[in-house]
């Protein structure tokens, strides 16, 4: 019975490792300037974690195979080295691993959070609300008009609560449901939540950041590849959470400018 356990465990271990080793399930292609650091970090961790996983499982299987249901009166023996060896191993192996990863991790993290956006970065405001994203471009005057929650009127597409009657700079603000950005230009994303907590997750950009109501955060990133990608909400925000998404359109600079002009006309 012990031997059977060992066999099953070995099978499970190899079966679990197989899709990883063969890269059956991998993150989508990275289209950001910072993403590679995260991917490398993930790869390193996968290597070390995978080693620990397979090693420990196989060791367990081996011991159970060898030392289970032995014949009556077979004498128990003790592992040379005992607990000290174990503690030492844990500290040396894991300790160094922990420090290594901790330090490496810092770098990838810093790329995203500890560098300020470039002054020429394109500013886009994202507003999350139950259950859709809307995006705002400052328009000709380069200014975002103030938000008046009491003016929000979704039936009239006034998702940001703009007040064009009184705020002049509100009249040229461009509001869209799709986020369109130029390729290879840094984007400074200003994040605002209309109601509850939401999150901004673009797998290809290796970006995930919560929207916190009452606390406007900002992110900056650069997309390096044109195409259409999904922006999804990853913070449970209510019944429509599963359906809360928008598209990220990465266009060449000139196409982007044309798109922006057309949208401006619609306003």
């Amino acid at each position: 019975m012990g031997k059977f356990f060992a066999i099953i465990l070995v099978v499970i271990t190899l079966a679990s490792a197989y899709p990883i080793v063969t890269h059956k399930f991998v993150q989508p292609e990275d289209i950001s300037t910072h993403g590679h650091a995260i991917d490398e970090q993930l790869a390193d961790t996968m290597a070390e974690g995978g080693f620990a996983f397979v090693g420990a499982q196989l060791l367990l299987a081996f011991f159970v195979w060898k030392f289970s249901s032995r014949k009556e009166g077979s004498k128990v023996t003790h592992l040379p080295g005992g607990a000290k060896l174990m503690v030492a191993t844990a500290f040396i192996l894991v300790g160094t691993e922990v420090l290594a990863l901790g330090v490496l991790g810092q770098k990838a993290w810093a790329d995203v959070y500890f560098t300020p956006p470039k002054p020429d970065a394109l500013q886009v405001q994202a507003q999350a609300g139950q259950f859709a994203f809307y995006f705002r471009y400052p328009g000709a005057d380069g200014k975002f008009a103030p938000i008046h929650p009491d003016k929000i009127d979704e039936g009239n597409q006034n998702y940001f609560g703009l007040d064009p009657a009184n705020d002049v700079e509100a009249r040229d603000d461009i509001v869209t449901a799709e986020m369109t950005i130029p390729v290879n230009r840094e984007i400074h994303l200003l994040m605002h939540s209309k109601d509850v907590g939401h999150s901004f997750y673009v797998r290809e950009l290796r970006i995930q950041q919560d929207f916190v109501p009452g606390l406007d955060l900002s992110l900056h990133f650069t997309a390096t590849k044109t195409g259409k990608y999904e922006i999804v909400c990853t913070q449970l925000c209510g019944l429509g959470h599963y359906n809360m998404k928008a598209y990220l359109n990465v266009l060449p600079q000139d196409e982007f400018e044309k798109w922006l002009k057309d949208r401006a006309a619609e306003q």
């Binding site: 465990l9 499970i12 079966a15 679990s16 899709p19 399930f25 991998v26 993150q27 989508p28 995260i38 970090q41 993930l42 974690g49 995978g50 620990a52 996983f53 060791l59 367990l60 159970v64 030392f67 289970s68 004498k75 128990v76 023996t77 003790h78 592992l79 174990m86 503690v87 191993t89 844990a90 500290f91 192996l93 990863l101 810092q106 990838a108 993290w109 500890f114 609300g129 139950q130 929650p149 929000i152 979704e154 609560g161 109601d195 509850v196 997750y201 995930q208 950041q209 109501p213 009452g214 606390l215 999904e230 999804v232 990853t234 913070q235 449970l236 209510g238 019944l239 599963y242 998404k245």
Partner: protein
């Protein structure tokens, strides 16, 4: 100062059904009550997860009976998005609070802690009884949410504000459903605080003669450490729930900022901080993970060492590791909030202690593995589940290693990778601990043996099934499959459907296998063959008394302890082991 004679503790064995089975003061009965409540909750939680898995892979299929059970939530058996979230919320809440906290800690702890330290009962039997019935009240309040018009809460077991705080405008289930949730959890906290208080005082002051702290079995230690963690954790969650209720019912603004427009309605609140809830919740929430897993670690070590017929490499090291895990668990709550808008520098501060926890966790694993070397493992249902636990503990621990790093968490946060991780390590692993303990202690608790054949069958299906369910979760996460989605309209995630189908089917089979366990439990209780006093040749005090133990455990006598808990592989009158309370000298072997 000498004590006046106090009759209170010389309680006679209770007469009559009520005082014996319902409002019992006997820690053994209370332990069974906790276990029973956990059993009911775990099957409820399991059925909820079935419904979720079913809806995920067959979104337009009608669930037969559900239509009449939940006419609004599932019209004609079609599960609505909000009802999916209700299932998710209730599943999480039932499992985390009423199963993973109740069974391994309150259940087994109540039953065996006093026996293992040679006490007649808990220090405060009345508190003990109140503790259970409070918890039960919390359970009733929570389940009531299924039957109100508003429907069960939909904000997840983490109840993030302001979604959980603004009230019904935010959607179905966030009116009275959410109120009931907060009330239930607040009540639950009170119950757990009473329980922890009892555990701590009992362990400190009611140990038998010769039972030094270091002579306590590892599971007693685990329960003791857990009760210390629980005392702090629930003492923080309780105020958090009260503040949440005030925001919801009294119009205060602890968690709700100004200018929120929910369902076209401008909310009349100002200045609250949503992150405050997250901090308070996770300050409880992360220790809660250890409240679930440490008792399992203790139980499994206890079972393993008995089945190995040799002492652990070092019980001391194991205990110190558990302590350091308990200690570290207070500095890591922020790792749940890496992408929550918390100061990015603090993310790094939280990341280091989180990674550090890997060290004591690894030590524990290596102690188990190293002890297996040269052992003579007796394969029983109990030891199989214990070995299974070790395997799960490793698998779940390794994935934790990814999520502890902020940079990787940017990509994996809120994906199925996280779901796979915590189900592996705190869900299934803890359940394996409970099951191992059940097969191990059932003879003592009921006086009858469980069927080993059924037990092993149960193990094989559960063990393989669990891996089939939760390993793929990690793969889905790596691809970027977002959690808490009621269906994948998302064209990105649609291609992953086959994996989801595989998981769902595995979940149905594994779940069904639990009925074998239930049958085994009930059948053996009445028809099982009569259990001897010490079926597994154990050494700790619970094996020195009849099965089931008499009222007041040691029949009024007072055990005296002479040895460390795990004297195996030594010459003793009873064979290869010496019981803790046997005066005989140990011939070093």
């Amino acid at each position: 100062m000498e004590e006046a004679v106090q009759p209170a503790h010389v309680h006679a064995p209770p007469e009559g059904f009520i005082s014996k089975y319902v409002f019992s003061l006997d820690h053994k009965m209370i332990g069974k009550q906790y276990y029973g409540l956990a059993l009911v909750s775990v099957f409820m939680g399991m059925v909820l997860s079935w419904l979720m898995r079913f809806h995920l892979v067959w979104p337009d299929a009608k669930v037969p009976v559900l239509g009449s059970l939940a006419p609004t939530g599932a019209p004609g058996g079609l599960i609505t998005p909000e009802y999916y979230l209700s299932l998710l919320t209730m599943h999480g809440t039932l499992m985390v609070f009423f199963v993973l906290t109740n069974a391994p800690f309150a259940g087994f702890g109540n039953y065996f802690l006093p026996i293992q330290i040679g006490a007649e009962d808990m220090a405060f039997p009345r508190f003990n009884m109140m503790s259970f019935w409070t918890t039960f009240a919390g359970f009733l309040v929570l389940v009531l949410a299924f039957f109100i018009p508003d429907g069960p809460p939909t904000s997840g077991w983490t109840a993030y504000a302001p979604l959980s705080a603004v009230g019904k405008d935010a959607g179905p289930g966030l009116g009275w459903g959410q109120n009931l949730w907060a009330i239930s959890i607040a009540i639950f906290c009170v119950g757990q605080l009473l329980g922890s208080l009892n555990f701590i005082s009992t362990t400190l002051d009611l140990r038998a003669k010769g039972m030094t702290l270091m002579r306590m079995p590892i599971c007693t230690w685990a329960w003791f450490i857990t009760s210390c963690i629980g005392l702090l954790a629930f003492a923080v969650l309780l105020p958090a729930c009260l503040l949440l209720l005030l925001d919801r019912l009294a119009g205060t603004s602890f968690f709700i900022p100004s200018g929120l427009v929910v369902s076209d309605r401008l909310q009349n609140h100002a200045g609250g901080s949503p992150l405050l809830w997250q901090h308070l919740f996770w300050f409880f929430g992360h220790p809660e993970v250890y409240i679930a897993i440490l008792p399992a670690v203790g139980i499994v070590s206890h079972v393993l060492v008995t089945s190995m017929r040799k002492p652990l490499l070092s019980a001391k090291v194991l205990i110190y590791s558990m302590m350091s895990i308990g200690f570290l668990s207070w500095m890591v709550w922020g790792h749940h909030m890496f992408v929550s808008g918390m100061n990015p520098f603090s993310s790094l501060l939280f990341s280091f202690p989180t990674l550090t926890i890997t060290i004591p966790a690894t030590i524990i694993t290596l102690i188990w593995l190293g002890s297996l070397y040269g052992a003579n493992i007796q394969i029983t249902s109990a030891s199989l589940f214990a070995l299974g636990f070790v395997s799960m503990f490793v698998s779940g621990g390794v994935s934790g290693f990814f999520l502890a790093q902020p940079s990787i968490d940017i990509y994996l946060h809120a994906t199925y990778f996280v779901v796979g991780h915590f189900h592996m390590v705190m869900g299934v692993a803890a359940i394996f601990g409970i099951l191992s303990g059940t097969y191990f202690w059932f003879p003592k608790m009921s006086g009858r043996m469980m069927s080993e054949t059924l037990g092993k069958l149960h193990f094989w299906i559960t063990f393989v099934g669990t891996y089939c369910i939760f390993m793929p979760f990690h793969y889905l996460g790596l691809v970027g499959n977002v959690r808490r989605y009621s269906s994948f309209v998302d064209d990105f995630m649609a291609p992953l459907m086959p994996v989801h189908k595989f998981i769902s089917i595995a979940a149905f089979i594994t779940g069904a296998a639990q009925l074998i366990f239930l049958y085994n439990l009930i059948h053996s209780r009445f028809r099982g063959k009569v259990a001897p006093e010490n079926p597994w040749n154990g050494t700790s005090l619970e094996w020195s008394i009849p099965s089931p133990p008499p009222w007041n455990n040691f029949g009024g006598k007072h055990p005296v302890v002479f040895h460390d808990p795990y004297q195996y592989g030594v010459k003793g009158s009873k064979g290869d082991f010496v019981m803790q309370d046997s005066p005989e000298q140990i011939v070093s072997g």
